[in-house]
């Protein structure tokens, strides 16, 4: 027979559904998936900025949409009809046209959309975690060390200027409460900060970027290079607070540019990589003394180089290799066999001789992070010690 089995309303008892929320669990999973998608989209989103310099406020805004779990559905392109209820006469306008929706699909509205603002530093930190990248290794040769004064310990004697009032007061209070003496401060209470001269490893660094600006480098290639350079720069900056950047673009000649101008450069004609390498090598010699600077060199090209230039370019690159912590070659073209190009072989030769570095082919935006991962994990494993 029918009847009621139970009518529970015992609020004391802790029930299983109080322990966790399934809705929240699945929402968190959704957010995790969105995070992953965002990560893949980041290089593209960020490379749309006009220059790396425009990220000067060091924040990016990323529009995100709730992920859709797709189902088969009919085309919504034509006019739709529905049933309503209320006192109307045929022809009444129940809702005016929406000026923003100038003929787009009828299914656009209703999606939850929000903007995520991220600090570049946080993105980089997060990226490094996601890619499980180790820290860079600065040079540790004593010859490259700087001497610096560092504060170290306290003493009862010292110049008046370095009197630590806080510590002194603390000593006085300790003494008064333990001995019961009434004297406010005696000589024994005084504490002075001590300085000592200590060698610190060089923390200055420079990122030198070389960009092939020849006619064969199209917009797409340039965009890929820019994406990569941005993340490489941020990755190095993560390690070195005092980071300088230097930008060299070249065709058959090489010029140094400011960061803003660098990515606007579009050259004509062929590629002579030695022009760039020599220019970078002389900049290192003149401005970035290897004993004081950690030097990172990144070079982006579609891999085409005049074969006459092979020897000169190899020599130039060798010179850079002797000074640099690391050299990364990013190939942004789409040759039949990636890295099997003039430039790719030059890098491979110099690296085989003992230069620190690696080459990586970047053909789509998604590859940019992979390139970053390869370079930065490689650098940490084989970097100068």
């Amino acid at each position: 027979m029918t009847g009621i089995c139970s009518m529970t309303a015992n609020h004391e008892e802790l029930r299983w559904y109080d322990l966790f929320s399934r809705g929240a669990r699945d929402w968190l999973r959704h957010n995790q998936k969105m995070r992953e998608q965002l990560l893949h989209g980041l290089p593209r989103i960020l490379s749309q900025a006009d220059s790396l310099g425009n990220l000067g406020n060091r924040k990016v805004q990323i529009p995100v949409k709730v992920l859709e779990h797709y189902r088969f559905r009919l085309n919504q392109d034509s006019d739709n009809t529905g049933v309503g209820q209320g006192q109307v006469t045929a022809g009444d306008v129940l809702r005016p046209a929406d000026r923003q929706r100038s003929g787009g699909g009828g299914n656009e509205d209703g999606g939850l959309e929000f903007r995520v603002e991220m600090k570049i530093d946080e993105v980089v930190e997060w990226l490094w975690q996601e890619l499980a990248l180790p820290d860079l290794k600065p040079k540790h040769d004593t010859a490259m060390d700087d001497d610096d004064w560092v504060r170290e310990g306290l003493d009862k004697k010292g110049p008046r200027a370095r009197l630590d009032r806080r510590r002194t007061m603390r000593e006085a209070i300790k003494r008064r409460s333990s001995t019961g003496s009434a004297a406010a401060i005696i000589n024994d209470d005084l504490r002075f900060r001590q300085l000592r001269r200590r060698p610190t490893p060089a923390t200055q660094a420079v990122c030198l970027f070389g960009l092939d600006a020849s006619g064969s480098m199209g917009n797409r290639e340039r965009q890929l290079a820019k994406s990569f350079f941005f993340w490489a720069l941020e990755g190095v900056r993560r390690q070195y607070p005092k980071l300088e950047g230097a930008f060299v673009a070249h065709t058959v000649e090489a010029w140094e540019f400011s960061e803003e101008e660098f990515f606007q450069v579009a050259g004509q004609g062929g590629t002579v990589a030695s022009a760039c390498f020599n220019r970078v090598a002389s900049m290192v010699a003149e401005r970035f003394d290897p004993s004081r600077y950690n030097i990172y060199f990144f070079y982006a090209s579609d891999g085409e180089n005049f074969s006459d230039d092979r020897e000169a370019a190899t020599a130039g690159l060798r010179q850079i290799a002797s000074a640099a912590n690391y050299m990364g070659y990013v190939e942004v073209g789409s040759p039949r066999i990636p890295l099997d190009t003039e430039t790719g072989r030059i890098f491979a030769d110099v690296i085989a001789e003992g230069g620190q570095g690696a080459g990586f082919a970047v053909q789509r935006e998604e590859d940019v992070f992979e390139a970053i991962r390869v370079f930065f994990s490689h650098e940490a494993a084989h970097g100068v010690h």
């Binding site: 009518m7 809705g23 859709e68 797709y70 529905g82 306008v93 129940l94």
Partner: protein
């Protein structure tokens, strides 16, 4: 809750007096957060999937904005289970108890409910919990990413089942009898029929037998266009692993349970609303102020428009169903209404019982939404109104997609019946779904539909291996 328990007993007596017939119902008082989750998942415990998280957030936002208040959720079965919000006051709870009895009566007697309940076994709550457990085990064993790929596919095909067939379907026969062409010679025909018996062979049971092979031939798979995509993929995917099939079949079973709830929503909510109103009206034992408050709640639930509006662009199924049942019972009596309740689903209910007079009284109208978002009232044509009310209800609310064949290279060939649906598929969404399917089918997956210009179009992925 002691007062409510007391009322409930008397309300049940009343209900039985009116001929309501239902399985016992277990009532549970639960916090609003739990109500939200049951409403989102459809069941108290259900398999984890990120898409439920999205629905959950939408529901929370709706709730915060005051657009939705969930008093109760009923899960039909034997026993049925009813969850009441523990924030309901006494009057609301009394109303909700009577409402639940209406649902319990409906789900025990409506044929569509009866059929799928018999198939599923009246214990969906426990079964869904077992599915959730099974899927959590799979996540531990095979990792979240792999299980999620299967669920992405299975849940996106949730509506593509065939409840006309049994839940536990046998695979197609791999061969079929060939009916021989009518013979010109009656004697030879008789001889042929006699021949096996003469030789002592049981030819018809032995496909390898000489006489058997002559009468049988292998059948293409599927032998006819197949609408149960979940079943078909689970049984015929070339490289699906057993645990992946189990997930597909788990989703399919829950889908069988959900189908009548979807197909009878207007009838079911209307029926429950009619009975909570009727039972409370007849319940002379209720204190006057409690009755008044309960009836106020009733009119909040069963109203066509939001509180401060005069026009609504969506139909409240509680209201429409309530008015239709009220009219049917007034005109034909309870017994006749019960027959309708037993036999129809929303399609039959609306087509057969919504007439011109009632549509006018309800002020139903058809509206047209243009691509720029402008909405205008169209006209009051009854047939157009009925079709628009029902359009979203056909085929479990999904486009008609069938499996046509498996190509020789293993590619799954799907076809969209665009003539039935009147237009083509959204190609972007369809391609995403085909990608989900491809992850479990592990060969190419192709789908034929029409594009916006009405031309035939093929979507999907060719095999890449």
């Amino acid at each position: 809750m002691s007062n409510e328990s007391l009322y409930l007993e008397k309300i049940e007596d009343l209900a039985r007096g009116f001929g309501l017939d239902y399985f016992p119902v277990r009532f549970q008082s639960v916090p609003p957060s739990f109500m939200t989750e049951v409403a989102v998942y459809g069941l108290p415990v259900r398999m984890p999937h990120w898409s439920f998280g999205v629905r959950y957030i939408y529901q929370l936002i709706q709730h915060r904005m005051g657009h939705s208040h969930i008093f109760e959720v009923v899960v039909p079965g034997d026993p049925g289970q009813a969850f009441l919000a523990d924030t309901n006051n006494e009057a609301e709870n009394t109303l909700v108890l009577a409402h639940v009895l209406g649902h319990a009566d409906f789900s025990k007697n409506n044929l569509l409910f009866r059929r799928t309940q018999e198939q599923v076994g009246y214990h969906i709550v426990e079964q869904a919990a077992a599915h959730a457990y099974q899927i959590n085990q799979a996540i531990e064993k095979y990792g979240q990413a792999r299980v999620e790929r299967v669920l992405d596919a299975a849940l996106s095909l949730e509506q593509h089942i065939d409840t006309h067939m049994d839940l536990r379907r046998v695979p197609y026969p791999s061969e079929e009898e060939v009916t021989p062409a009518p013979s010109q010679d009656p004697f030879r025909e008789r001889l042929a029929r006699l021949a096996p018996r003469d030789t002592g062979e049981q030819a018809s049971d032995e496909p390898g037998g000489p006489a058997g092979s002559a009468r049988r031939r292998s059948v293409p798979v599927p032998p006819h266009p197949e609408t149960d995509l979940l079943w078909f993929i689970a049984h015929y995917a070339p490289d699906m692993e057993p645990w992946e099939r189990d997930i597909f079949l788990a989703v399919r079973q829950e889908s069988f349970y959900f189908q009548p709830i979807f197909a009878c929503q207007i009838m079911n909510e209307g029926w429950a609303s009619y009975w909570h109103a009727r039972l409370l009206r007849e319940a002379s034992f209720l204190p006057q102020d409690l009755y008044l408050e309960a009836i106020k709640t009733h009119s909040d639930v069963v109203r066509p428009y939001a509180a401060d509006e005069q026009i609504s662009l969506a139909i409240n199924p509680y209201h429409l169903g309530f008015v239709l049942w009220d009219r049917l019972i007034e005109e034909g009596g309870i017994a006749a209404a019960r027959r309708v309740m037993t036999e129809e689903d929303d399609a039959g209910f609306i087509r057969n019982h919504l007439d011109q007079a009632l549509a006018k009284e309800l002020k139903l109208f058809q509206y047209r939404q243009r691509r720029n978002g402008e909405i205008t009232a169209a006209d009051m044509d009854l047939d157009a109104i009925k079709e628009d009310l029902l359009r979203a209800k056909y085929n479990f609310g999904a486009p008609h997609i069938v499996v046509d064949s498996i190509r020789r290279d293993g590619c799954l060939m799907l076809r969209h019946d665009h003539q039935l649906d009147g237009r083509g598929l959204d190609p972007d969404a369809a391609n995403h779904v085909l990608e989900y399917i491809q992850q479990v089918w592990r060969r190419g997956v192709r789908l034929q539909t029409i594009n916006k210009r009405g031309q035939e179009e093929w979507l999907g992925i060719e095999d890449t291996t």
